[in-house]
């Protein structure tokens, strides 16, 4: 069953809002603004200025170990990458984190062919059928020319010959340091897609007055509102005449989400009809890593998302949900 963690914070400045362990692999953010029928201009501009990302078709994974690419991009701690259209429970998945960690989630045959050190996945049933190879590219043992580096490079180049579609992004924006890599591959640039919809007569649970158990159901509802689900709302509830649901999907970077969060805080602090806003951030279901570099798996659902509810009086509530094959963050 999916696990849920629910925390309530009251912080006058809200400055530690973003000190939770960040999930770098964000696929979808949706914002629910009750009693609002059109997005305010500041929010609109933030939503439309999310960084673009690149989709590379059939990237040979050994290119991520290219010396020039490492020196210009990876060592500066600014590259985010994830394999696209690969399933974590069927195929090989690759993730590149901004802290220089390259994670490969391999099935048994691929792992044995690759011939590099790795650990069996912690989500194993009777025998280990999935293995995780995690290397820190910024470590001195993985410097170009060293034994481990050459071993991994040979493994990916001649033994395993792994090729996947790859999503790549760079922060700060612009792919000047990615250009040499991109020029060798078939790539296309994409912007995150923004969708707005106005919902009418939405019944939402009144966040303050519910007991925690009902509140969990309430969060599921709020998190699912962007998909217009038809759950029954727990009591007590309030009916909102209008609500605006905005969703952004694509490969989203943490700093963009942070900016959105700041903007939402500014929005909710002003006196308004409704006293709360909520933001739901969903990660990729097929990413090999999840919260704070913990391993992520997919049993019957790969959900890993959190919902943040911000109130007028500078307090906020955080609700985290993970799937069965996930490590719940502390």
């Amino acid at each position: 069953m999916p696990e849920h963690a629910h925390k309530v914070f009251a912080d006058s400045r809200g400055s530690n809002l973003y000190q939770h362990d960040v999930d770098y692999k964000t696929k979808h953010v949706s914002v629910l603004l009750p009693e609002c029928s059109s997005a305010p201009s500041h929010l609109d501009s933030v939503l439309n200025n999310f960084s673009s990302f690149y989709l590379i078709r059939k990237l040979p994974v050994y290119e991520l170990l290219d010396r020039h690419f490492l020196e210009t991009a990876v060592y500066h701690g600014a590259v985010f990458g994830l394999s696209y259209r690969t399933r974590i429970d069927e195929d090989t998945c690759v993730a590149l984190m901004p802290n220089g960690h390259l994670t490969l989630s391999l099935d048994k045959d691929s792992f044995e062919i690759l011939g590099f050190e790795g650990k069996p996945s912690r989500f194993k049933h009777r025998t280990a059928t999935r293995f995780v190879v995690s290397v820190d590219l910024t470590d001195s043992s993985m410097a170009p020319g060293r034994r481990s580096y050459l071993r991994l490079l040979t493994g990916l180049k001649s033994r395993l010959q792994l090729q996947t579609d790859f999503l790549l992004s760079h922060h700060p924006g612009g792919g000047a340091s990615l250009q040499p890599l991109l020029s060798r591959c078939d790539w296309s640039q994409h912007r995150p897609e923004v969708n707005c919809s106005v919902l009418t007569d939405l019944s939402c649970p009144a966040p303050r007055s519910c007991d925690p158990h009902n509140l969990l159901m309430g969060y599921d509802i709020i998190a699912a509102v962007s998909f217009l689900s038809s759950f029954v709302c727990p009591e007590p509830n309030t009916i909102h005449r209008h609500a605006l649901s905005v969703s952004v999907s694509g490969m989203l970077l943490p700093h963009d989400i942070h900016r959105l969060l700041q903007e939402l805080r500014r929005y909710v602090e002003q006196p308004r009809l409704a006293s709360w806003v909520s933001m739901t951030v969903r990660g990729f279901a097929d990413s090999p890593v999840s919260w704070s570099n913990h391993e992520h798996g997919f049993l019957r659902g790969g959900e890993n998302f959190y919902t943040l509810m911000m109130f007028h009086d500078h307090t906020y509530q955080l609700h985290l949900a993970t799937g069965a094959h996930d490590v719940c963050p502390p």
């Binding site: 259209r85 690969t86 399933r87 429970d89 069927e90 195929d91 099935d107 049933h125 009777r126 059928t129 999935r130 579609d165 049993l299 019957r300 069965a324």
Partner: protein, 290 residues
């Protein structure tokens, strides 16, 4: 985990129906399916084992599996419905044309023989009728040790409510004896509508008494194990495989020339051993091509 497989999709003689079934399976997320040719010998007249049609003659371009970038893989499988011990002929050459070999026993004695003795990959458990025998732990454990898997098919449950009861009852009884090990779930679909997605099949397996992990394995890792077992069975313990070839004898041969024979290639030393069978005499000639 391995890719999702459905190892029992009924072979349909009509090409467009077959094509729609294969496309549905690819759309649902199955990376490998096996077309099942059923052979039910009767005492009345001698029947021939069907010959599998090569897949490229049936479908021009295999559809790509949804969410991945590879086309679906289609294999051939033979199921022999046995009501007598003579119906299954061990080492029959016709069985070599199929990738997978399955047997459906109809009595306890045949079930015991299938688990312990017969050189097969899959044992089908009947789902459309009340089980004629009870499962015993000993033959089931024997089969698990040999690498033979038990198959539960769910499309009968979709078609009819009485069959649904039999399916669940038979499957639960099997799970109690085998404790969820070495079980595969497949559709036995006769049309595209009877196929279900791999996660739905996993949920269905929970009804049969499998745990979460076992249920997912039943659609992925255990199917992969059955395929590897089939490959090993066909290659004489995984060392030698045979291909039929018509060619001149290699140098150093005893006879000089042979009209037709089997060319054996040894995996270990990559030498080819040409064996000619003539007048019940085996003449062997060896050539080292490595």
């Amino acid at each position: 985990m391995a890719v999702f497989m459905d190892l029992n999709v009924s072979f349909l003689p009509d090409r467009s129906d077959l094509r729609s079934v294969v496309e549905t399976a690819a759309h649902l997320g199955f990376s490998t399916i096996a077309l099942n040719y059923v052979f039910e010998p009767t005492a009345k007249k001698k029947q021939e084992i069907p010959t599998p049609t090569p897949i490229d003659e049936l479908i021009d371009q295999l559809p790509v599996v949804q969410g991945r970038s590879r086309p679906i893989r289609v294999l051939n499988r033979l199921t022999v419905v046995m009501s007598d011990a003579s119906h299954f002929r061990p080492n029959a050459p016709e069985y070599r044309r199929f990738d997978l070999l399955a047997v459906q026993p109809t009595s306890e004695k045949l079930f015991h023989a299938a688990c312990m003795v017969y050189d097969i990959d899959i044992i089908c458990v009947p789902m459309t009728e009340k089980l004629p025998f009870f499962f015993k732990r000993a033959p089931i454990n024997g089969a698990i040790d040999r690498g033979v898997v038990f198959e539960v098919s769910y499309s009968a449950a979709i078609r009819d409510s009485t069959m649904r009861r039999y399916t669940i009852a038979n499957a639960v009884s099997l799970m109690e004896s085998c404790k969820g090990k070495s079980v595969i779930l497949s559709s036995a679909a006769q049309k595209a509508l009877e196929l279900r997605g791999p996660y739905d099949v996993t949920n269905l397996a929970l009804l049969f008494g499998l745990s979460d992990g076992d249920a997912k394995e039943a659609v992925s890792s255990t199917c992969r194990a059955a395929l590897l077992h089939a490959e090993t069975r066909r290659t004489a313990s995984g060392i030698i495989y045979t291909t039929r070839s018509q060619q001149e004898a290699p140098q150093g041969s005893v006879d000089g020339r042979f009209k037709s024979g089997y060319l054996y290639r040894c995996y270990r030393c990559l030498c080819s051993v040409a064996i000619e069978l003539r007048w019940n005499k085996v003449m062997m000639s060896e050539s080292n091509t490595s």
